[in-house]
Subunit: 294 residues, 2 copies
Amino acid sequence: MIRAAVVSYGNIGRAAVEAIGASPDFELAGVVSRSAECGMRGNFRFVRSIDELSGVQAAILCGPSVHIPEIAEEILKKGISTVDCFDIHGEVFGLFERLDAAAKKGGCACVTAVGFDPGLDSAVRALFEAAAPGGLTYTDFGPGMSMGHTVAVKAVSGVSDALSVTIPAGAGVHRRMVYVVIEDGADFDEIAKKIKNDPYFVKDETVVARVPAIEPLKDMGHGARITRKGVSGTTHNQRLCFEMSINNPALTAQMMISAARAVLKRPPGAYTILHLPVIDMLPGPQEELIRRLV
Amino acid sequence: MIRAAVVSYGNIGRAAVEAIGASPDFELAGVVSRSAECGMRGNFRFVRSIDELSGVQAAILCGPSVHIPEIAEEILKKGISTVDCFDIHGEVFGLFERLDAAAKKGGCACVTAVGFDPGLDSAVRALFEAAAPGGLTYTDFGPGMSMGHTVAVKAVSGVSDALSVTIPAGAGVHRRMVYVVIEDGADFDEIAKKIKNDPYFVKDETVVARVPAIEPLKDMGHGARITRKGVSGTTHNQRLCFEMSINNPALTAQMMISAARAVLKRPPGAYTILHLPVIDMLPGPQEELIRRLV
């Protein structure tokens, strides 16, 4: 059994607890949370620090991306392997290098940026290039909530609550549907203009709508479509397409649990999903997996 | 540069020569063929035996599945790594075990069953299970030619030429469209009945049509659709779909070249595509691949 701790208990953390419970080869050591009340809840334990849990082999880091580098480094140095869902694309390589040093120092392994995208999508993009090295890949997201864009809207003065939904417009272009609750006396037109000029939105078609409340609009469903039209050898027009419609926190958490299985089999250091043999991400004997899946 | 030999020069062998030519990090040592005329042709060399070629690191085995076990074993024992497109699903694990012993004896590595399906499809099926471990996966093939079914029809007495095309009917069910040229005086109804009762066809809806010639009907295009509706953690209705429409020999050959890149980085032994980290299948520095694909 792989003994894993869940670190941070938001939507993804809750889904990680469920995914551990549903995995035949995992057991939950406990949940590390700075805000939840400590002690037993149901059949698992909440603690303030991972040091309070015994025999943890893998820490599943479910907190927001901004906190992941520091938390991962700290846990890796204790000799506990980590899996995280860091999702700031431009910063993945820097984090990978930083965590590689920490993991080697701790004598353990980590896999970074494992979720929906980066994560499953990254593996599909790489596989598509292996099949057709020439050509173009487009990743279209949605429809679904974008956390980064939502946070950017909430920061606009006069906005009391917000939700930004990503709508795929094809070939990697997206429309943003922004729903806002505005403060009494605030100027909606002024707010809409500010949002459209925000760096997060300025390059995309953006529609801003005023709503009385955000909570009733929330839905964790999300989607992605990856298409590649490319060249295998010298043969053009090879067409590959991947599409998913999923509950985002559940997919992210499951990918992290599957990746944890694989990373515990690797030598010390940092990995991305591209480095993990997919057979190591699945439970069960190799013979059965080869017979069933190859 | 990876120095590779192409073994067997049919449709897949030709595509493998093209894929090697199109790869920045490969060079063609030559083509091993029992039937082609020996000597230089264009800018590459045809030989009878791989022993006539120098410095070969990887042999790309493009011959029919029935000959692969023997050829692969023989080449592995010489210390040359192999990649093959063996495609008899039920026999992959047995071959994997047999080649594992041969590769370890030769101090080299091999990857077996790398093509369209088994191959790219296998990797997708495994990745889908990592994302949603509960549920069902269906693989639908076509429309495209089936070599195995075509050979079975050609063996029916009274048939002088044939082509079997696979039509996807959904959820892993297929219809077979069989085109036959019959010998003078042969009874078409009798032949059609025999084909429909053949073990290759008896379980599928099969339509047999008489045509004057097969050659004009041939088209190397093929397709596949893999769908999984499954459970991530405890969350149901996670939907994943992969679809491709491709030239089959070109895709198969390209997958073998990409896999050759990866297998040369592994310790001696046998591998399947499920064992290969996808990052090792792609050319170029790790940093660039992580920045672009993760």
